[in-house]
Symmetry: C2
Subunit: 401 residues, 2 copies
C-alpha cells in the first residue's frame, strides 16, 4: 500500500539453491508462503517438517543417545509439539519452559531442568510435577535442590575453559573440573542421587573433532568419580551442534555420529544415558525471517559503504549479531545486480542497534527502501530474544507451517 517504488520493490527473489556442500535454506512450502504473504511486521517462518527432518538426522547419528531439545532456542508451542510427537525429550531453563514442554505432550520424566541457576519456586514446582533430573555446579545450588526436590537425580556441570566454538561460552556455567567429585559427595550427603556429568563445548562448534579436548577432560573426571565409588549413568554432552551460516558445516547425521565416535573412543564403556541438547542445531535452519528495507543512505557521497536500515534489529530478533558473532545470510528482491559493502542496522532510535559494521555485508547496489529482504537460518535464538516492544516496535512474529 505504501510502497514508494513500483515494480521492483515487490520483485522476485533469487533463491540460494542447495549444492552438494550446503543445505537449501528453505523449501518450496516456505517459498510459496513467503511469496504470497504480506506481513505487516518482521515475521519468522518456521518449517516444522524441516525441524522433523533435522530431529531424524540427529537421532540417526546419535544412535542410542537421547535428544533433549534446548527449549530456549525456540519455545514456539508448535515446534515443541512436533518434537514431542516424535519422542524428542527436552531441556528446560525455567518453570515456564517446563510447563510448555508438558503442554506440548512431553511426559515430565522426559524433561531435564538444565539451568544451574534455578529459582527456588521453580525447583519445587518442577519436582511436584515429576521432573527428576536437575543440573548443579555449586554447593548452594545443591542445597536448594536437596531442600526443594528431595531425592532428585542431579548431574554436575563442568566448566569448559578452552572452547573451539564460534561462540565460546563465558565462564558463567560449570564448576572447576577438580571440584566435580567433591560436589557429587555433597549431593549424596544431602540425600540427592548424583547421576553424572554435563558440559557444553560452546555454541556453533563446527566440527565433531573439535569436541576431543573437552571430552578428554570429561572422561578423566568420569573415571575419577567411578573410582571414588559413584555409579554414574548420565553423560549430558550439551549443545554446540552447528547450523549453516555461510561457512561449511558437517551435516547433522554425520556430525552427530562423529561426536558419538569421539565419546566412544574415550569411554571404555558407554554411559547408560547419553543425552545431547541441540537447540540451534535443531531449529536454526528451519527458519527464515521476512523483513523489509526501511532506508539506504550514505553519511557523505564520497563514502564507499552504504548504511542499510532494516525493520528488524538487535532488539526485535537479531540479538545474536551482538559482537557480530553470528553472521546471517540474506536474500533480497534486488539480488543478481552488482553488490557493494553495507553497514547493516536496525530500525530503533538506539545507536547500539547496528548489526554488522566491523565486517560489512555485501548487498546489491540497487537495494532501496521498500525492498523485501529474507534472513536465512533464523529459527534459533531470534523470536525468544525479542524485546517486548523497544521503541514501540512489536516483537518478532512467528508463523509455523
Amino acid at each position: 500500500m505504501l510502497a514508494l517504488s513500483q515494480g521492483g520493490a515487490r520483485g522476485a527473489f533469487l533463491r540460494r539453491l542447495s549444492d552438494s556442500d550446503v543445505p537449501a535454506p528453505y523449501g518450496d512450502k516456505v517459498e510459496a508462503l513467503l511469496d504470497a504473504a504480506e506481513f505487516d511486521r518482521p515475521t519468522l517462518v518456521i518449517d516444522l517438517d524441516r525441524v522433523e527432518a533435522q530431529f531424524r538426522a540427529l537421532s540417526a547419528g546419535l544412535g542410542d543417545a537421547h535428544i533433549h531439545y534446548a527449549v530456549k532456542a525456540n519455545p514456539h508451542p508448535a515446534v515443541l509439539a512436533r518434537l514431542a510427537s516424535l519422542g524428542c525429550r527436552f531441556d528446560a531453563a525455567s518453570r515456564a519452559e517446563i510447563a510448555l514442554c508438558l503442554e506440548a505432550g512431553a511426559p515430565a520424566h522426559h524433561v531435564s531442568f538444565g539451568n544451574t541457576v534455578k529459582k527456588p519456586g521453580d525447583i519445587a514446582w518442577a519436582h511436584a510435577v515429576g521432573v527428576d533430573l536437575f543440573a548443579a555446579d555449586s554447593d548452594e545450588e545443591l542445597a536448594k535442590i536437596a531442600a526443594l526436590a528431595p531425592g532428585a537425580r542431579v548431574f554436575i556441570r563442568l566448566l569448559v575453559e578452552h572452547s573451539q566454538a564460534d561462540w565460546p561460552l563465558s565462564r558463567k556455567f560449570g564448576c572447576a573440573p577438580e571440584e566435580a567429585v567433591r560436589l557429587m559427595g555433597v549431593a549424596r550427603e544431602a540425600g540427592l542421587r548424583p547421576a553424572g556429568l554435563s558440559f557444553h563445548v560452546g555454541s556453533q562448534t563446527r566440527a565433531a573433532t573439535m569436541w576431543g579436548p573437552t571430552l578428554d577432560m570429561v572422561a578423566e573426571i568420569w573415571a575419577e568419580a567411578s573410582e571414588a565409588g559413584f555409579t554414574l549413568d548420565v553423560l549430558n554432552i550439551g549443545g554446540g551442534f552447528p547450523a549453516f551460516y555461510g561457512d561449511p558445516v558437517e551435516g547433522p547425521e554425520a556430525y552427530a555420529r562423529g561426536v558419538i565416535d569421539e565419546i566412544r573412543a574415550r569411554f571404555p564403556q558407554m554411559p547408560g544415558y547419553v543425552m545431547a541438547e541441540p537447540g540451534r542445531g535443531m531449529v536454526a535452519e528451519a527458519g527464515v525471517i521476512a523483513a523489509e528495507v526501511l532506508l539506504v543512505s550514505k553519511k557523505r557521497p564520497s563514502d564507499i559503504a552504504r548504511w542499510v536500515y532494516l525493520d528488524i534489529g538487535k532488539f526485535s530478533g537479531l540479538a545474536e549479531t551482538m559482537d557480530e558473532a553470528i553472521r546471517y545470510q540474506f536474500e533480497t528482491t534486488a539480488d543478481g545486480a552488482e553488490t557493494g559493502p553495507c553497514v547493516l542496522a536496525g530500525p530503533s532510535c538506539d545507536s547500539a542497534d547496528v548489526l554488522y559494521e566491523k565486517r560489512p555485508v555485501q548487498l546489491p547496489l540497487a537495494l532501496k527502501a521498500g525492498d523485501r529482504i529474507r534472513i536465512l537460518c533464523c529459527g534459533a535464538y531470534t523470536s525468544s530474544y525479542s524485546s517486548v516492544g523497544f521503541n514501540g516496535f512489536p516483537p518478532l512474529d512467528v508463523v509455523c507451517i
Copy 2:
C-alpha cells in the same frame, strides 16, 4: 514461602542516603512499598513524583526551551500521563510510541517523530493524526516523508563524530555536517519545510561543558544554512542529560542551565524553538528494581571473586550492562558487612548473560541465595529493553506510584 534461610534473607536494607553531592536514590514512599511488597518476579518501581520533580528541575534550567521526553527511555502510560499533565512534549520513535503519547493526553503538535529511519506506514499515520515535525538525515528518508507527509516540517540530524559521553553513539544517525544544507534544499524541493537541525551529544554526557565542541559545529552549520537563505527556528539538542550511577554528575537544573549557556554563547540570536529530548535524564533516577539473589558460588575454592546470580539479567531488563557501559548501584539485605569482588550474572542459560565481569562489583561476603537486592537509578532503558520471555522468564514488571 520458599526462602531457604531464616531471618537474614528477608532482613533490612541499609539505605544509601543522599549527601550534598548525590541525589537520594529513592524516597520514603518507594521505600515503604519495597519493604511491604512480596514481588514474585523482578519489578521496577517508578516514583511519579520524582519524575515530576525532574521535569520541573530540567524545565527551570532550560528556560524557554521545550522538553520533548524521549518516550523510548520508559514508555509506561503512567509516566507519559504524568508528564503530559505537566505540559511536557514528546519525541517518539514509531507509530506505537506516538499513539501512547496521544493516549496520555498530549496534543499531536507536541509530538516530534525523531527517528531518522521511519516505517512508511508510520509516517503516513503520524501525518494523518497531526504530527508535523519529522527528523531526516538522508535523501531517501526525505523522499519518504515528502510522499507520505506532504508539506511537513523536517529537521536535519547531524552526525556527531567526536563525543565525550560515557556511552558515545555509533555513526548510525545523522548526515555528515557538510551535507546538511544540501539536504535542506532537497527537502524544500520536495515540498517540505526545512525547520532546523538536530544532533545528539551521546548518552550520559556528564558535564554541560562537554557540549561545547559539538555546539561549535552545529552553530557553524546553522549559520551556513541562514546564509544560504533558510529561515530556521528548530534547534533540537537531543538527549545526553545524565543520571547518577555512582560517579558525580551535575544536578538537572544546573546542568540544563549550563547547556543553555553553552548554546547562547554560540548563537548570536537564540533559535525560536529550542527543544531537548531527555530520556535517561528524566526517568532513570525515578526507578528502583527489586530483585533477588538466586545463587552465590565460586568456580573453585581458591578463587577470589564469587559469582553472584540474580533473577534479573541482560535479557530481562539490564541490557544496558552490555560492554559494562552503564554501572548500576546496588543495595542488599546483607549490606554493612565486609565486601568482596563479585562477577554479576543473570538467571538465563545464556553465557552472554553476564552483567559485570571485567570490572567486578563489590558486594557483601555474607550475601547468599534468597537475599533481596535493589538496583538503583533503573527507571530508563530497562523495562523497554526486556525480552518477551527468554528462557521462560517474564519481562520486567513495572509498578508506578
